[in-house]
């Protein structure tokens, strides 16, 4: 069985969000980079668990991005995974990125492709679906549990107001949310092994990007909190009713 895990590099969750060059680029000075938590905690770890049950399985990692992504792929390798691809491009349109992953997936014919449910920077939630469409595969989005029995996957997924259990045959694309696996810490052996795992840098295939970011804006900060005394809860209710008009 061949599993592909899509990995994205994102700023650490505590990063200060700021922009530069006329608000056209993310200000990355001083930013710590991490594996997108959904890709790491859920997608990658579940793939590793599947391989632990079925040691003949192979796990490939893929990331689309510049050389600055390599350390992130190495971090992912420290947790697990056998081989990696980096498609060398800076373009960030979701169709463009999914097309790059689709090109590698078409070469290698994976049984299972995992993505995180979204990245914590762009919040697109779009790579998995786009990729599934390009490969003409079934797509389960927002999976919270993933079990495999032979070629049949049993997946629990979020739906509005609850969850749904479904079965589907491989090959398949799944976007992973909380619940699919538990976070792990890499061990020393993993960290050592990560250095020598094969990481192929490949040139992008020619595809047109369909969108581009013009600029960014910060969310305006709250103008200041109105404090209400602890012995005057009725005043809070009045403010919410008459001033904010939310109750």
């Amino acid at each position: 069985m061949k599993i592909l895990v899509c990995i994205s590099k994102t700023p650490d969750t505590t990063s200060k969000i700021a922009f530069k060059n006329g608000n056209t680029q993310f200000e990355d000075a001083g930013v710590q980079w991490i594996i997108n938590p959904y890709d790491e905690w859920y997608a990658l770890i579940r793939a590793i668990e599947l391989k632990e049950k079925n040691p003949t399985a192979t796990i490939h990692l893929i990331s689309v991005g510049g050389a600055d992504v390599d350390p992130i792929l190495r971090k992912a390798f420290a947790l697990g995974g056998d081989e990696g691809y980096r498609v060398d491009t800076d373009n960030s349109d979701s169709y463009y990125i999914a097309s790059q992953i689709a090109a590698i997936a078409t070469q290698n014919q994976y049984d299972l492709i995992f993505t995180g449910k979204e990245t914590i920077d762009y919040n697109g939630s779009s790579i998995g679906g786009t990729l599934a469409e390009l490969l003409n595969l079934p797509f389960i989005s927002l999976a919270t549990k993933f079990e495999l029995e032979g070629q049949t996957a049993t997946v629990t997924r979020e739906i509005d107001g609850g969850e749904e259990v479904a079965t589907v045959q491989l090959p398949l694309v799944v976007s992973c949310a909380k619940g699919v696996a538990e976070q792990r810490i890499p061990n020393m052996r993993g960290i050592m092994a990560a250095r020598t795992k094969p990481l192929k840098v490949v040139a992008p295939v020619a595809v047109e990007a369909l969108t581009s970011v013009v600029n960014y804006e910060l969310r305006p900060t709250k103008t200041g909190v109105k404090m209400v005394a602890a012995d005057n809860v009725a005043e809070l209710v009045r403010l919410l009713h008459e001033e904010a008009k939310v109750i």
């Binding site: 939630s125 079934p138 509005d160 107001g161 619940g179 369909l210 909190v225």
Partner: protein
């Protein structure tokens, strides 16, 4: 040329998010001077003609048993076929669970530029630019779409529902529907509770509540407001509350009209999931709790004293 609005349904009813989307899609149609049309997959008992009130001129129904559950492949093929048949140039979805599964596929099928998490009407002053939330609600990106066909997924609870007079034409449409490859075997609805994603008001508790046995005051307050309940991550991790209540960067991202945070410190990862709320109320015994900086109203005090008083005061409001 038209705007095609995808109406999401559950259990034979159009979802609440769809009304917001109708207003959004119709407004885009007005901006562009083109028709606003909608599509429903599967049978619904909602009065579709009455959706004209929200500015839509025509509602297409594609009938078929295959639409009972969302199979992204089947749904995307159907919506794309409808879009092509009716000549839609802009297709809009809600960025909810269904939209996240289906919209990117539709975009790829139509080779349309896709913007998800949109939070405002497009700006046509310089091409086709859509504003979306990024960095988990901390910022926005203005994204230009370069393709003749465009797919947009709108963040739930980010556009004002507008009603006027109007009746829509309801038109059945027949298209070939592919068999589903996803077989749904079980549906677990969170019954008796208001789904977090659809709630106008959310009451949320954190570690400050000390233990699951103390959640009665949260639930009472929530029920007095017809609100959904939520919690911080450590609370879900400790199994004090179910995982589907976990909000934040790594849980659900919500945007209710009112978010009441009780005994939650306001860590940056928590804020990332709730900062799109219109009004935030914080109740915390620590005046230095970072959450106050992100709040509209605050009370410094002991949750165990304040919250029951708050519930009582709200009940008085009637």
């Amino acid at each position: 040329m038209s705007v095609l609005i995808f109406l999401d349904q559950a259990d034979g009813q159009i979802k609440k998010s769809a009304y917001e989307l109708l207003s959004y899609g119709s407004s885009i149609a007005k901006q562009k001077g083109i028709a606003a049309e909608a599509v429903v997959l599967g049978n619904v008992s909602t009065d579709l003609a009455a959706l004209g009130k929200y500015g839509v001129q025509k509602v297409y129904i594609v009938d078929g048993a295959g639409f009972q559950h969302v199979d992204a492949q089947v749904y995307a093929a159907a919506v794309s076929d409808v879009a092509t048949q009716v000549g839609a140039s802009i297709v809009v979805f809600s960025h909810n669970q269904t939209g996240k599964a289906v919209a990117p596929r539709v975009a790829a099928r139509l080779k349309a530029g896709y913007v998800s998490g949109a939070c405002a009407l497009p700006d046509f002053s310089n091409g086709f630019v859509v504003k979306k939330t990024v960095f988990s609600g901390k910022a926005f990106a203005n994204v230009q779409i370069h393709t003749p066909i465009v797919v947009i997924a709108l963040n739930p609870n980010s556009y004002q529902i507008q009603e006027a007079d109007g009746v829509a034409i309801v038109a059945p449409l027949s298209i070939a529907v592919a068999p589903a490859s996803i077989q749904v075997t079980k549906v677990n609805k969170v019954s008796g509770e208001i789904p977090l994603a659809e709630a106008d008001i959310v009451v949320s508790g954190g570690r400050g509540l000390k233990g699951p046995e103390n959640w009665g005051i949260i639930e009472d307050l929530a029920s007095s407001l017809h609100a959904a309940t939520a919690c911080s991550r450590p609370v879900a991790d400790a199994h004090w509350r179910p995982h589907h209540e976990h909000v934040g960067q790594t849980g659900f991202q919500i945007a209710p009209n009112l978010y009441i945070a009780i005994g939650i410190s306001g860590a940056i990862q928590h804020l990332a999931g709730v900062n799109r709320s219109k009004v935030i109320v914080v109740i915390n015994k620590d005046p230095e709790a970072p959450f106050f900086k992100a709040a509209d109203y605050g009370i410094v005090g002991d949750a165990f004293e304040i919250v029951p008083q708050l519930t009582a005061a709200i009940k008085k409001l009637g």
